[in-house]
Subunit: 333 residues, 2 copies
Amino acid sequence: MAASSDTTGIQYFELKNFTFQNGATLPSIRIAFREFNPTAQKTALVPTCFRGRINQTFNFTTGVLQNYRVIVVALLGNGESASPSNTPDFPDTLDYRDCVRAQHTLVTEHLRIPSLDVVVGFSMGGQCSYHWTAMYPDVVRNAVIICSSARTSLHNYQFLEGPKAALINSVDYNDKELRAQNIAPVRGLRAFGRAYSAWLASAEWFEERLFEKWGFKTLDHWADAGAKSYDDWHPEDLLIMLGMWQRSDLSVIGDGKMSLEDVLGGLTPRILLMPCLTDQYFTWKASKKEVEYLKSGQIAIIPSVWGHMGGGGANQEDIEWMDREIAGFLSKS
Amino acid sequence: MAASSDTTGIQYFELKNFTFQNGATLPSIRIAFREFNPTAQKTALVPTCFRGRINQTFNFTTGVLQNYRVIVVALLGNGESASPSNTPDFPDTLDYRDCVRAQHTLVTEHLRIPSLDVVVGFSMGGQCSYHWTAMYPDVVRNAVIICSSARTSLHNYQFLEGPKAALINSVDYNDKELRAQNIAPVRGLRAFGRAYSAWLASAEWFEERLFEKWGFKTLDHWADAGAKSYDDWHPEDLLIMLGMWQRSDLSVIGDGKMSLEDVLGGLTPRILLMPCLTDQYFTWKASKKEVEYLKSGQIAIIPSVWGHMGGGGANQEDIEWMDREIAGFLSKS
C-alpha cells in the first residue's frame, strides 16, 4: 500500500508487552505523536479522528491552544500508531480503552506530564477523549468533545455499515493476487469514500455549493477528490478503526454494572460538548441528552451548515467560533 | 436473475415505436399497470417509486382512494414495465418524460380516461407526478407529491452515489462469468442495500428502535433483511432508475429557457406537497421553498420520525395522517 503522507515532526513511543481489551498481547506496539510548543506550561492532548493523520489534524495551535504544549496523538489503527498495516499479528478488534491506556503511558511515563489541562477531540477523537475522562479523571482537568458521542448511536452505526459493505465487497478487496502483492484495493477504497461522502456535510452545504469554497467547480470534482483521498489508506486500518467507532459505548467503563447515564453522571473532569447544528450522525440532540447527566458539563452548538466537517476545522468561521467558545470554557477552569 | 415477485392483477400495455428522450427508439415497449376498483367514476394514477413493484406500492385503496378507480403504473426500469432486464437494446438512460409520455398514452388511449382526478406519487413516483403536472396540465386535476422534489438536490444526488459505487465496484458485478450466466450479483446488490439503509429512516427512528415494530429483534436483523430484499433486483434496472432520479429536474420542461421557479410558477393543476419532517434527503425545507412558487400549491408536513419511509406507507399512524390530509385536499377540488 502507499506510504502514508507527511511524517514531519512525528515521534514514536514504544510500549512493551501491550495487552489489548480483546485479550491479545503484542510484544511491542508503537504510539505516534507530535509535540507543538514543547516548552509551554499548560498541556493539551489531541487524539486523531477517523481517517485522521497527525499532520492533517486540526490542532488549535494557531488559536486557542497557541500557548499550550499540544501533543497530537494517533489512534491505534490509523497507520501511524500501531495498526494492521504496520504491525504483524495485530489483533482483530480495537477498543478506545486500548488507545487511552497507551496514550496515558505516553503522557505520564514517557513525557512525564502528570496532568493534562485539556483533552480536545473531534469525532472518534472525541469518543477517545470521553474515555479519557472516565478512565483517568485525575489526569484530565478539562475535555472538549467536538461532534462526537458517549455512545455510538444506532443511526451512526448503520451509516458506517454502508462504506464498510462497499469496501469489503469490492472487486479488488476480494482479489487475492492483488492483496498478496500488497496493492491497495483502490476501487474498494474509493467506493468506501463515495458511500461516506454525503454524510460529511449537511443538505444545506450541498445546496449552497460550498465545495466551491475549496476550489471545486462541480460536486463531481469534489466527490472524485474525496474518493481518491482514500487511496493511501490501508483497508484493514480503516476497518479496524470503523469497528472501534461502531462499538463505542462509554458504559463499558462500569464493567457492565452501570448504565451510560450513571457513567456520565460520575465523570469528574469539566466537559464541553460541542456538536454541530447540522451534523447528520453525531447529532446535537444526542449531545444535549448527554450533557444533562454530566456534573460539570456544558454544551455549545456550532451554528454552521458545514455539518460534521464543521467541527473538524473545515471552515474558518467555525474555527474562530470554536476558538472563542473553548477559550471561554478554559478561562473558567 | 431471480424472477420478480408478485404479478397478481398486472396487465401490460404495449407501445409501438417508442422514442426515448435520449434519442433511442425501440420497436416496442411495455408498460405494466394494475387497476383497482375499475368501475369507480373518479380516477387516480399512482406511479411506483424507486425499487417499487406494483403490488408492493402503497396505493391508498383502503383509505382515501377507496372510491377511486386507481391505476398503479410501473416506472420504466422497474423490471415490470420495459427495463434493461426484460427488453433487449434498452437505452442507457431514462428520463421521467419517457415514463410520463408512455403513461399518458396508457391512460388516455388504452384506458380511455380523458382526465385524472389525481396523480399520487411517493419519492421517484412523486418526481414522476410532478412531471405529469407540467407535461399534461389538462389531464391532471390534482397531484399529491409525497417525500419528493421538483429537482433532485445535490445532497440527494451525492447520497445515491454511495449505493451506486458499492454495486458497480462489487466483486460479483464485475465477474464476467457470473454476468454471462445472468446470475444476480448478490454481494453487490446487498452492499447497495447497506449503503442505502441508514438514509431510509431518521436518526430518531433508529434510536427508538422502531425496527422492532416490524418484528426485528436487532438492528442487524433489520439490516440483513433489507440487504437481502435487493436479491431479486436486476442491477441495471436499479442503476437506470437511479440515474433518472439523480438527473431529475422539472426545469427540463422549459427546454432550457425557464428557471425551475418559473416552471413551478406555471403549473396549473392543484398540488399538495407532503414531505416528511425527518426525511433525510427529500427535506421538508426544500418542499417549503417549492410551494412558494406554486400557484395552486399547498404543503402538509408528515409529523413522523419514520423519515423517508413515513411517506411510503411504512407506518400506520402516518398512513392515517396522510389519508386525512389528502381527503381534505381533494374535497376542496
